[in-house]
């Protein structure tokens, strides 16, 4: 029997992996993928609670998150492509024009 806390622990682990990916990876595409990981970790939590509580509310939220994530991926990739065309690089460390 897989209990609720198993889902939550897995979700937390995936979320942490996503956070670390966003913070330390040097490739914008991987950063974007890490964000997807974080979102899906949250989705997993929603589904687990939905099942546990016997309520459909969590599943509705998941659909919204997935729709937003799709839109975000489209825009994010478009930005990344145009940045790459401009600078021939995807390293976020090199994109520091907006500072002091």
């Amino acid at each position: 029997m897989v209990a609720l806390h198993h889902y939550l622990i897995l979700s937390a682990v995936i979320f942490a992996i996503g956070v670390i990916g966003v913070l330390i990876r040097r490739n914008l595409i991987v950063v974007l993928m890490s964000i997807e990981l974080m979102l899906n970790a949250v989705n997993l939590t929603f589904i687990a609670f939905s099942r546990y509580l016997g309520s459909a509310d969590g599943q509705v939220s998941v659909f919204f998150v997935m729709a937003v994530a799709a839109a975000e991926a489209v825009i994010g990739l478009a930005i990344i492509i145009s940045v790459f065309r401009h600078r021939q690089s995807l390293d976020p460390q090199e994109m520091q024009l907006l500072k002091w």
Binding site: V22, L23, I24, K99, W100
Partner: protein, 640 residues
């Protein structure tokens, strides 16, 4: 005291009286040059003429106890406090309307000739029409705020016209002086309005309307009324050139002579008298203020007359004479004879405008010369100017059956019968001095040998008809305008009956006719001796005229105007400018700028430390985000 409630009738015609000069002024401002200088001037004169025609019509049609009103729109509305842009005409306003538009029209006509050679005369007529507009606002406003707008507006026009020939720096300084001295008075005036409004508001009455003020003014404490009236009188003293704020008026003669005649003799400077008459219901409740006004009026009359005795500038003599006559008016106000004060405003407007325009005619003929020592014997060259000047001189001196005789004698009689014997004797002596300095001037300018230099003499000419016609009309007015207010022992006064609905029945006793005649004879005696003194000393001019150096101590003091300007310069202007330059050099750059810049510098230094947190690296921001989120999480977990 209070006459039956006057009937108030709405009448849309009134707004056109001030509006026409304003429109003409605006039109000339933008299109005057395109119109041509002569046409622009004619348009300006025609606009005032139209206003004059309206004023005559209104004067004719106005019922004895009536008030006509014209409310254009509500200007300010704040809770129960309402101020409307609204005009009213009652008997008092009707008289002032006739003076302002009538004399104004004549002077516009005169200016067509006088300013004929001036390059800038379109601007001149723009200002002059604007002045008529503001003056009409002043006398027609049905509440204190409209009056105040007009009051400030005429001050502005006065400033603009004194400095009209701004290429001469002295004229600009004179304009500034007039403006600043008037500011002092106006400050008192507006403080008076504030106190009046708030004190009445404390009783639940929020109004500035004259009719409503008159109904409710009894609710105020006597001490408050005294304070209000003194403050208002400070304003009147500034505008009407009373001690100690009279210093601007003689300097205001730097403006073109028609301006001196219109603004600084006939109309604007009498605004203070008009204001006290308009608010007479307030002033009669403050006997202490009235006493102060009487003393200041008499002192001003005397003081200015002593200065006028020795001046050599033709316009300066008239300027001090104006100050002196305004003193008489306030003397009348001070003894509670508001109607008589307005009567003197009325007659004075004729003879003083005539005198100024006459002097302008002389100055015009001599190509700008104003020193009477370089005149003389002009009688033969300028007969019309001479005869009108003579008539006006007789009028101001108070020769029987001229306008000045009736009004000045009435003031002296009112003062005497009021019991103010001291003030009366001062007024009596002043009447003698008035005669002396006016005939001194007449003899120096028109009689004796001609001291005009050869070059100017070749150009000597009588002024054109457009200038002499107003002179003749004003000279006629200098005689006949006084006949409206004759004393009881002649044919009685129509004047007081006309003003009764506004000012209430005069308190002055007419019972002792014989005393009144004796007083008049005394005055006449003084006047005749003043004339004889001038006749003996200045009939054959030449010897005395240049004796500036030879005079005694009193001559020197009078000639130097009691050193009042020097005293003000030493006591007020210099300390003030010293203080101002101290503030400009120490306080402003170090304290004010120092504080402001110090705040900015501190903020900049502080933010310099923290700005390096902003690296521009998205991942750093995300890390901070995470730190913050974790900190919040830790905090809330700790709360559990």
């Amino acid at each position: 005291m209070v006459s039956p409630e006057p009937s108030s009738v709405a009448y849309d015609l009134l707004r056109w009286m001030p509006l026409i000069p304003l429109l003409a002024s605006g039109f000339n401002l933008f299109f005057g040059r395109a119109l041509g200088k002569q046409t622009a001037g004619a348009l300006a004169a025609a606009a005032v003429g139209a206003s004059f025609a309206l004023a005559c019509y209104v004067f004719w049609q106005l019922p004895a106890h009536g008030i006509w009103r014209d409310t254009v729109y509500t200007w300010i509305e704040s809770g129960s406090f309402q101020v409307a842009l609204s005009f009213q005409v009652d008997a008092l306003t009707a008289v002032m309307l006739l003076i302002v538009t009538g004399i104004g029209f004549l002077i516009h006509l005169y200016s067509l000739g006088y300013m004929a050679h001036d390059e800038d005369r379109v601007r001149f007529f723009v200002y002059l029409n604007l002045f008529i507009f503001f003056m009409l606002l002043l006398v027609m406003g049905d509440n204190l705020l409209i009056l105040f707008v007009g009051w400030e507006g005429v001050g502005l026009c006065s400033y603009l016209l004194i400095g009209f020939w701004h290429h001469d720096h002295n004229n600009t300084i004179a304009g500034n002086k007039a403006f600043i001295v008037n500011r002092i008075g106006d400050f008192g005036f507006i403080l008076g309005i504030f106190v009046l409004v708030t004190e009445l508001g404390r009783q639940g009455i929020w109004t500035l309307d004259f009719v409503e003020l008159q109904q409710h003014v009894k609710m105020l404490e006597p001490a408050t009324i005294t304070l209000i009236t003194v403050l208002l009188f400070v304003g009147a003293a500034g505008k009407s050139a009373q001690l100690p704020l009279f210093v601007w008026l003689p300097d205001a003669m730097a403006g073109p002579t028609p301006v001196s005649a219109l603004i600084h003799a006939a109309t604007m400077v009498t605004a203070g008298v008009y204001m006290t008459a308009r608010l007479h219901f307030l002033f009669i409740l403050a006997p202490a203020t009235l006493a102060l006004i009487a003393v200041i009026g008499a002192a001003t009359a005397f003081f200015a007359a002593t200065i006028a005795l020795t001046q050599n500038d033709i316009k300066k003599v008239l300027a001090y004479s104006t100050v002196s006559q305004l003193g008489y008016m306030f003397l009348a106000v001070g003894v509670g004879a508001f109607g008589t004060a307005i009567f003197h405003v009325f007659t004075h407007a004729f003879f003083k405008a005539c005198l100024f325009l006459g002097s302008g005619s002389v100055i015009h003929a001599l190509g700008g010369e104003q020193d009477m020592r370089k005149m003389g014997g002009l009688k033969g060259f300028m007969p019309v100017t001479y005869w009108t000047y003579l008539v006006a001189t007789l009028a101001i001196a108070g020769v029987p059956f001229t306008a000045g005789f009736f009004s000045k004698d009435l003031i002296l009689w009112q003062t005497f019968s009021h019991g103010a014997t001291g003030l009366w004797s001062i007024g009596l002596i002043t009447a003698g001095m008035t005669t002396f300095y006016m005939f001194r001037q007449l003899f120096m300018v028109f009689h004796g040998e001609c001291r005009v230099d050869a070059h100017a003499k070749a150009h000597l000419h009588e002024s054109p008809a457009v200038m002499t016609l107003p002179l003749m009309i004003l000279a006629a007015g200098s005689i006949f305008s006084g006949w409206l207010g004759a004393p009881e022992y002649l044919w009685g006064s129509r004047w007081e009956h006309w003003l009764e609905p506004v000012l209430g029945v005069s308190e002055v006793h007419h019972d002792s006719v014989s005393t009144e005649m004796i007083i008049t004879l005394l005055t006449l005696g003084v006047v005749v001796s003043g004339f004889l003194l001038a006749f003996v000393n200045y009939r054959k001019t030449g010897a005395q005229t240049g004796s500036q150096a030879g005079g005694g101590l009193f001559y020197q003091i009078s000639f130097n105007k009691f050193y009042v300007d020097e005293f003000y310069d030493l006591a007020i202007v210099r300390p003030f400018t010293a203080l101002a330059s101290f503030f400009a050099r120490i306080i402003d750059p170090w304290v004010i700028d120092g504080t402001v810049n110090g705040v900015a510098t501190t903020a900049r230094r502080f933010s310099n430390i923290w700005r390096y947190l902003q690296t521009g690296n998205v991942q750093h921001y995300a890390a901070m985000f995470l730190t913050g989120a974790l900190a919040l999480l830790a905090y809330f977990l700790g709360q559990l």
